[in-house]
Symmetry: C2
Subunit: 122 residues, 2 copies
DNA sequence: CTTTTGCTTCGACATCTGTCGATCCCTTGC
DNA sequence: GCAAGGGATCGACAGATGTCGAAGCAAAAG
């Protein structure tokens, strides 16, 4: 099998996607209750304006990661920022790592791809 | 200007997207408050398991549309189904039309495409 | 060791949200 | 006109969610 063929299979989810055990495109067939439960968690995490701004700030930050102090300017208190970042982590959209004084958040790329797949046209 | 160049411009949202006045990819630059407000509404609509099942049922139904009676089997009462379909309509994800006794819902295709754009990789 | 700084956790609270039964509206069939 | 059935709306309510200030914790700086 050529590399191109293998890649194609992966992109079409005809082979299991390793890191993200999720779901077929929304328009392929009706979701089961379990699929909906898992998938809704991710959409829900992005369903808040503040979280969306935080996520976008991390995703667009140079190097693909951002310190909390770099993205805290979203109009809510610092505890609230921390609360939302935690929610994004729990949803599997972000990961965090402490380096010295600062905590850095970065986007989980495979999850972003999986969500894109969900919205793919039939 | 070549067609390819024109298409490229459109895809990058350097020209206004006609039907869906939304936002650049999440990872292009930090969202403004207004962009986040608008976009979060759509994600929020898909952030509930029941709504996700209803949306998936409509999206995957043959002909691209479904009568309420076709998709009501999601484990909640009929008023609740109606409530969720209304939410999906308000978010711009579905449209509805009465034909005789039945009401048919269908997916707004341009919105689905717009959400896909949001999740596109940088 | 003490202070400072960046961030998380805790507790409280007002608001939003999902759910249901009851009721209402609209269309069709008699 | 009247009954029946699909679907929307209403009113109520428990539980989830977003927000804040206060307090806690960890790493660096003095």
């Amino acid at each position: 099998m050529s590399n191109a063929k293998a890649l194609s299979l992966l992109e079409r989810s005809e082979a299991p996607v390793a890191a993200v055990p999720c779901c077929p495109p929304l328009s392929e067939r009706p979701f089961t209750a379990e699929e909906a439960e898992r998938t809704a968690r991710m959409f829900k995490a992005l369903g808040d304006p503040v979280r969306l701004r935080l996520f976008s700030a991390v995703a667009s930050h140079q190097g693909g990661e951002a310190c909390v102090c770099d993205i805290s300017d979203v109009g809510v208190s610092q505890p609230t920022v921390s609360h939302h970042l935690k929610k994004l982590k729990e949803a599997g959209l972000l990961t965090s790592e402490r380096r010295g004084t600062w905590v850095y958040y970065r986007v989980e790329p495979s999850v972003l791809a999986a969500m894109g797949q969900l919205l793919a046209v039939r």
